[in-house]
C-alpha cells in the first residue's frame, strides 16, 4: 500500500535534475549556516580558552590604550609604556591577590627573519611565578631557566619550528649584541605561547637597559573576589591601566560581532534563495500534476491529504538537503577554518569552528522550518484543486 510519503518521494525522482539542483541549493545553504553557527561558537570558545589560559584574571599595564593591552595579551605588542617594578610590592599587600607574575615585553627588528626581516618579540617572565600560572605548558625538550637572571631562553613550539632551534642553540638579540642560550623547547599548546620566546624578565631588563621596569603584571585573584571592585581599587595606583579578562573577552567579541552579523546576513540571504528554489520546484511540480491531483481527490483524497502529500515533498527535500549540508559542513570544516583564518588573520588559536550534534540538529531544524514555510503556498494551491477542473482540463468536453 503506497504511503503519502512514498508517493511524494517517487514524485521527486520523476524530475531528477530539478530535484537534485533544489537539493544542492538547500545543502549549500545548510553548509553555510552550520559553518557560520559553528564559527560563532568555536570562536567564542577559542577566545575564552586563550584568555583563560593566561592563568590570571586581571592584567595590570602601564597607562595607555586598553586595546593595546588586549593586543599585548593576545598577540604580543611593541612600543609599550613601562611601570615601575615596585608596583609588585604594592600589589602583594592586596588581600584579593593570590599570585602575581611580572612581565616585560620587548620587540626588536630582526633583519635575518624571512626575506625582508620582521619584528622579533621577547617576553620576559618570572621563573618563580610564571610556570605555576601556565600549568598547561609542557616541555618537548629541556626545562625552565637555571636562575632568574640567566641569559637563557625558552621557545614556544611554533617559534622553534620556524627558526629550527634546539636546546643548546644561541639566539642573538639584534642590535644588542647579546646571545641567549636556548634551555627549553615547549610542546604545542594551541595558544599564543607557541610563537613566543620567553626570557627571565630580569635578564631582559638588563639586555634592553630597562632595569626596574615592567610592561605588565598578571594577577590571579582569590576565588569569589569581586573583580569589578578590585579593579576600582587598583586604579588608586598611579599610571596603571587595569584590564580584566572578562572585559577583554567582551571587547574582542564586540569587535568581531559586526563581522559575524555581516556573514550571518549573507547566510540568511543564501537560505532564502534556496527556499525560493524549493517553492518554485514544488509549485512547478503541482502545476505539472494538476490532473493527477484532481484524480486523487476524485478517489477520496481530502484537501488535507493533498496538502500533506505536497508538504511531504518539501520535507523530504529539506531533510535530505539538511543532512547533506551537515555532512558537507563536518567534512569541510578544516577547509572552512582555513578560509576564515585567511579572512581573519588575528584569530584565536585552537579550533575556530565548533560543530557539535546540537548545532547540527538546530541548523537542520532551521532549514526544515523555513522549508516547511516555503512549502505552504504550493501545498495550499494543490489542496484547492477541484477534481472536476483537473479532469475537464484534459477531457475538453462539457
Amino acid at each position: 500500500m503506497p504511503s503519502i510519503s512514498a508517493i511524494a518521494y517517487k514524485n521527486l525522482k520523476r524530475k531528477r535534475l530539478r530535484s537534485f539542483l533544489t537539493l544542492l541549493g538547500i545543502s549549500l545553504s545548510t553548509w553555510v549556516l552550520i559553518s557560520l553557527l559553528g564559527f560563532n561558537q568555536g570562536y567564542e570558545r577559542s577566545l575564552s580558552t586563550d584568555i583563560d589560559n593566561l592563568g590570571f584574571q586581571v592584567l595590570l599595564t602601564a597607562k595607555g590604550c586598553p586595546y593595546e593591552a588586549a593586543t599585548l595579551m593576545m598577540q604580543g605588542g611593541a612600543g609599550l609604556r613601562y611601570m615601575p617594578e615596585s608596583v609588585l610590592d604594592s600589589l602583594a599587600t592586596q588581600p584579593e591577590v593570590q599570585k602575581l607574575t611580572p612581565m616585560l615585553m620587548q620587540a626588536v627588528f630582526d633583519p635575518t627573519i624571512g626575506d625582508t626581516g620582521a619584528i622579533a618579540a621577547f617576553t620576559g617572565v618570572d621563573p618563580a611565578t610564571f610556570p605555576s600560572m601556565r600549568t598547561y605548558l609542557e616541555f618537548a625538550e629541556g626545562a625552565w631557566f637555571t636562575n632568574p637572571t640567566a641569559m637563557e631562553a625558552v621557545i614556544g613550539y611554533e617559534a622553534a619550528e620556524l627558526e629550527q632551534r634546539q636546546v643548546g642553540d644561541l639566539i642573538l638579540v639584534p642590535d644588542k649584541n647579546v646571545e641567549l642560550k636556548v634551555v627549553g623547547i615547549l610542546k604545542r599548546s594551541g595558544t599564543q605561547d607557541d610563537g613566543t620566546i620567553f626570557v627571565p624578565y630580569k635578564a631582559l631588563q638588563q639586555v634592553f637597559g630597562v632595569q626596574g621596569k615592567l610592561t605588565s603584571v598578571g594577577i590571579k585573584v582569590h576565588k569569589n573576589t569581586d573583580i569589578n571592585a578590585f579593579e576600582e581599587k587598583l586604579y588608586s595606583l598611579q599610571d596603571v591601566q587595569v584590564v580584566s579578562m572578562a572585559q577583554v573577552k567582551s571587547t574582542i567579541s564586540s569587535l568581531v560581532t559586526t563581522a559575524k552579523v555581516m556573514v550571518m546576513s549573507i547566510a540568511i540571504i543564501a537560505i532564502l534563495i534556496a527556499m525560493v528554489g524549493v517553492m518554485n520546484t514544488i509549485l512547478m511540480s503541482v502545476l505539472e500534476r494538476y490532473q493527477e491531483i484532481g484524480i486523487m481527490k476524485s478517489m477520496g483524497a481530502s484537501a488535507g491529504h493533498i496538502f500533506r502529500l505536497i508538504w511531504s515533498e518539501t520535507v523530504i527535500l529539506c531533510l535530505l538537503g539538511g543532512i547533506v549540508g551537515a555532512l558537507l559542513a563536518l567534512g569541510l570544516a578544516t577547509l572552512t577554518e582555513s578560509l576564515i583564518r585567511y579572512i581573519l588573520p588575528f584569530s584565536p588559536k585552537g579550533s575556530l569552528i565548533l560543530i557539535d550534534f546540537p548545532l547540527v540538529l538546530r541548523s537542520i531544524g532551521i532549514i526544515m522550518g523555513i522549508g516547511l514555510v516555503s512549502g505552504i503556498y504550493p501545498a495550499y494551491r494543490a489542496s484547492r484543486i477541484k477534481p472536476i477542473e483537473a479532469i475537464r482540463s484534459s477531457e475538453g468536453e462539457l
Binding site: 478517489m299 491529504h305 462539457l398
Partner: protein, 231 residues
C-alpha cells in the same frame, strides 16, 4: 432501491456573456444493480451529467440525492469534506485517459485510494482484483511498461479496490482498439451481472452501450430518449 435520484438537475456555464446550459433540468433515478449508458453527440452534456451524479462537480440547480444523502439542494452543495467521503465510499471512477500515476507500480496504482485512508485489510483484495482483471503478472510494472488495454484494466481495478456501490465510467473504451474495447465491455458487464455493481457510463461506442440495461440519449443537456431494454 434507489441509489441516485436527480430532480431538475442543471449545470449552467458562462462563456463570456453567453449562458451555456450543459445539463438542463434532468430528472433521473438510478437503482441498485442497474447498468446505465449515456449516449449522445459531443457537447450533449452526458459527461457533465456523469460528473454531477458522481459528486465531482457542483450542480447549479435542482436536487441530487446519493444513497439517501442530499448532495445538492436549494442551490447549496454538501460540504467538501462530506463530498470527499461520498466519493470514497460510494463511487469508483474510470476515465478515458486512465490517469495512472506514472511513478507508481500497477499494484501501487490499484491501491492508491488507500494511500489516503489506510486499510491493511484490502491488501489481500488486490491480488483477487488483479487476477480477475488478468493483471496478476503486471503488479510490479510501471504504467509505461504495459499496454493501453492493461492500463484501463488497472484503472478499473483501482476503481474496484474500495468496493464501490457505483462505478462511473467516462468513455472507458475511448482510447482503445476494438479488441481491447470488447475486453473492457465484458469486464464491466461481468461486474454488473455477477457482482451486482451499479454501472453508469458515458460512451460513443454503440456496442458498449448495447451492454447496458438502460440507454439514455442526451441532446442539448436534456434527456431525449430514455430507452429501457434488456441485455
Amino acid at each position: 432501491m434507489s441509489l441516485i435520484k436527480a430532480n431538475g438537475l442543471s449545470k449552467t456555464y458562462l462563456r463570456g456573456a453567453e449562458e451555456i446550459k450543459a445539463v438542463d433540468g434532468i430528472d433521473l433515478e438510478v437503482s441498485s444493480g442497474e447498468f446505465v449508458a449515456f449516449v449522445g453527440a459531443s457537447g450533449s452534456g452526458k459527461t457533465t451529467l456523469l460528473h454531477l451524479l458522481g459528486c465531482l462537480d457542483d450542480p447549479t440547480g435542482g436536487t441530487l440525492t446519493v444513497m439517501d444523502r442530499t448532495v445538492f439542494a436549494n442551490g447549496k452543495a454538501m460540504p467538501e469534506r462530506e463530498l470527499t467521503k461520498i466519493r470514497r465510499q460510494v463511487f469508483g471512477y474510470i476515465f478515458q485517459k486512465f490517469y495512472l500515476i506514472p511513478t507508481l507500480t500497477v499494484k501501487e496504482n490499484i491501491l492508491l485510494p488507500f494511500a489516503f485512508h489506510r486499510n491493511p485489510g484490502v491488501l489481500h483484495n488486490v491480488l483477487d482484483v488483479a487476477r480477475q482483471l488478468g493483471l496478476e503478472k503486471r503488479l510490479s510494472h510501471l504504467p509505461k511498461e504495459i499496454s493501453g488495454g492493461e492500463m484501463q484494466r488497472v484503472a478499473i481495478a483501482r476503481a474496484l479496490i474500495n468496493e464501490p456501490k457505483i462505478i462511473l465510467a467516462d468513455e472507458p473504451t475511448g482510447n482503445l482498439d476494438s479488441k481491447r474495447s470488447v475486453e473492457i465491455a465484458d469486464i464491466l458487464a461481468d461486474l454488473n451481472q455477477n457482482r451486482g455493481i451499479t454501472i453508469i457510463l458515458v460512451t460513443h461506442n454503440h456496442d458498449l452501450a448495447q451492454r447496458a440495461g438502460r440507454i439514455i440519449e442526451l441532446s442539448d443537456g436534456r434527456i431525449v430518449s430514455p430507452d429501457d431494454h434488456n441485455v
